[in-house]
């Protein structure tokens, strides 16, 4: 789960890392009121979960109330696309904070390195720009050190890292302290990625986190009530509905609704549908041991996406029983009136019973296929052209 900049900064403040004070605003009026309170110059920053906000025009410095109004009006409601084509993300909130007098711009992060099974601390004196470009063009400018999982990572342990990165001598103590505290945020808040770009040194030589990119491990939310509340806010109506029904659903752009059991098989189903020339509308993992009711819920979510023109069921029953799936399909047809073409492939545990249930129900919109590849081709045919 990714946090917005201001949510990340609130976590930083909780762990004693210096951040500019500011306020979050949902409307232009709120933004202007916040700017008036904070004073000028102040920064008006789009709160979206994507990098490259500055380049996209999502960060502006206002010198007075008129400018604050003009920029807030432009930023709230704008769509921002990420540097790798992510999104677009609609801006619903802005963060207004006091302008900072920047003397140096650095980069600092603590990230879970899956391959090495350790946290990785990274520091660079070249902050304020795309760190991937820095790493590619001047690899020595980015110092990377793994944190020993068996010993304490305090400011003393962090100090050699910030020294190696060549930060200004008078900022080393504070920068080491910040790096140690970033590791403490990781441990204390179950963050798997914490990135500060830029980490600035002010004209008064204070070290301040001017940005915050934080990813929290979704598995840990049972022990972070405050963060769990953040996770409950989902923008997309289908994703919200799926969440309420306890389903693993991700919205995509296409018109072929997909339901499979197991994350791996579901991803594979999206791939074969795409190979057959179709565009998947969603990822939906019905999970292991799905009962009929879960299938009805899943179909309701898929069907509520107006783009969907046909639906594919790809089930390989292991723990999941195909007769339960078939019952769910029949019940859903009766309860929620399913008229879209439905391609069903049932294999594995109790598949014969499942196929029999479907045959007896004799649903006019249902098409059975024996293999995964045939079912993908069929659903693409029935879905028609791309949405």
């Amino acid at each position: 789960m990714d946090l917005l900049e201001y949510q990340g900064k609130q976590l930083f403040a909780k762990h004693g890392i210096a951040v500019p004070s500011g306020e979050v605003a949902d409307t232009v009026e709120e933004a202007v009121a916040a700017a008036e309170k904070i004073g000028y110059p102040c920064a008006i920053k789009a709160q979206v979960l994507i990098g490259g906000r500055g380049k996209a025009g999502g960060i502006k410095i206002a010198q007075n109330a008129d400018e604050a109004r003009e920029y807030a009006d432009a930023i709230i409601g704008m769509d921002i696309t990420g540097p790798h084509g992510e999104g677009p993300f609609r801006v619903d909130q802005v963060w207004i904070e006091g302008g900072s007098d920047i003397a140096e711009e650095y980069y600092a992060s603590v990230i879970l390195d899956r391959g090495e099974k350790k946290l990785l601390a990274m520091v660079s004196a070249k902050g304020g720009m795309d760190i991937e470009a820095v790493a590619a063009e001047d690899p020595d400018a980015l110092v990377k050190v793994h944190i020993d999982p068996t010993s304490e990572f305090d400011a003393a342990a962090a100090r050699p890292i910030v020294e190696a990165a060549g930060l200004a001598a008078d900022a080393l103590d504070e920068a080491a302290d910040v790096l140690a505290k970033l590791a403490a945020v990781a441990a204390g808040e179950d963050a798997t990625l914490i990135e500060v770009n830029p980490l600035i040194v002010t004209a008064g030589r204070d070290v301040v986190a001017l940005d915050a990119k934080v990813t929290i491990d979704g598995n840990s939310l049972f022990r972070h009530e405050d963060l769990a509340a953040v996770a409950d806010t989902v923008d997309d109506p289908q994703e919200q509905m799926a969440k309420e029904k306890g389903l693993t659903y991700v919205k995509l752009d296409g018109n072929v609704g997909i339901l499979a059991n197991g994350a791996g098989l579901c991803m594979s189903t999206l791939d074969v549908v795409a190979q057959a020339g179709g565009a998947p509308a969603n990822f939906l993992d019905a999970g292991g041991g799905s009962k009929a009711e879960a299938i009805v819920n899943a179909l309701e979510v898929i069907k509520s996406d107006a783009k969907v023109t046909a639906i594919l069921f790809n089930i390989f029953g292991g723990i999941t029983r195909c007769d339960e799936i078939a019952k769910g399909i029949v019940t859903a047809s009766q309860q929620i009136g399913l008229e879209l073409p439905l391609v069903v492939r049932l294999d594995g545990t109790n598949s014969e019973e499942g196929l029999k249930i479907l045959a007896e129900a004799n649903l006019p919109n249902l098409h059975q296929e024996k293999t995964m590849l045939d079912s993908a081709r069929r659903v693409v045919e029935l879905a028609g052209g791309a949405a």
Partner: protein, 291 residues
């Protein structure tokens, strides 16, 4: 031979008194796995259909001779249960539980390494050695004994491929589900090296998915250390960046960890990669027949 579980396995199931734990534990027993103990704190002295229950895994080791532990306890209690298993004296710990906080697993991973314990999972379907033993939730009816070792991040996808191999008339030495979490006890490399050493395994099918760099590391390892043929499948070509696809590990950040990058890394080292589970099974059969 087979790897990780077999006729020598003596299994203790943590969580055997729970609904899921008893269902799958007893299913494993019915398959022929030597289930010697259940473990639930406070329930020592009870039994589950004749299987004695102990308070600790250590008791199951000393009193029932357990050498393998399966963890079936709820996520928030699972990391301490795995730690307990690591310290109990068993050789192998197989953690089925899904949803364990990743930074807990980070600590647990290093405990297992230090103790020299083979940890599989978490968030995995377990290990099946057809005809010998099944530890976990893999439906054994889709797999026959045979010469192909399978290692996979995904459960159902493995059943799909295993079933296609069975229909083609071949089978498996073992099927190892390593799990889809960002931190798992054993990676592709660990399992590939066990298959390389296993005389019964003639070739290997590896099933990966988006996220992390375990497949890229496996490609390097295969080129350097694996003499047996390896065929691979990667899921997640159509996954959009930044979206998590069910498995906690299946997320692409930026440009690395994509299915295309993994396929390319494997093919660069001479590993054939199937476009679909069906094609992967077909390539595996073709390679097997050429041996």
């Amino acid at each position: 031979m087979s790897i990780i579980v077999g006729s020598e396995t003596k299994l203790a199931v943590s969580g055997l008194t729970g609904r899921e734990g008893s269902f799958h534990g007893l299913r494993n027993k019915a398959y022929g796995t030597d289930l010697v103990a259940g473990v639930t704190p406070g329930k020592g002295g009870q039994d589950v259909e004749g299987v004695p229950v102990f308070d600790t895994i250590k008791d199951a080791v000393t009193e029932a001779g357990a050498n393998t532990s399966m963890i079936f306890v709820p996520a928030r209690f699972a990391a301490p249960a795995i730690d307990e298993a690591i310290e109990s004296g068993v050789e192998t710990v197989i953690a089925i539980t899904e949803g364990i906080p990743v930074l807990d697993m980070l600590k647990t991973y290093w405990k297992a390494k230090e103790a020299g314990v083979q940890l599989i999972g978490p968030n995995c379907p377990g290990v099946l050695s057809p005809g010998k033993a099944n530890v976990g939730i893999i439906p054994a009816q889709f797999f026959d004994p045979g010469p192909i070792g399978v290692v996979s991040k995904s459960g159902t996808l493995t059943y799909q491929i295993g079933n296609e191999l069975k229909q083609a008339g071949t089978g498996n030495s073992s099927i190892v589900g390593i799990g889809g979490d960002p931190i798992v006890g054993s990676d592709f490399i660990d399992i590939l090296s066990l298959y390389e050493a296993d005389p019964e395994t003639k070739m290997i099918v590896m099933v990966g998915e988006i996220g992390g760099d375990a497949e890229e590391r496996a490609a390097e390892f295969i080129a350097a250390e694996v003499s047996k043929p390896v065929v691979a499948y990667i899921a997640g070509f159509t996954a959009p960046p930044g979206k998590q696809m069910g498995h906690a590990g299946a997320i692409i950040s930026g440009s690395s960890g994509t299915a295309a990058a993994k396929k390319e890394a494997l093919e660069a080292k001479g590993v054939r990669v199937g476009e679909s589970p069906t094609e992967t099974a077909a390539i595996a059969v073709e390679v097997l027949n050429s041996l």
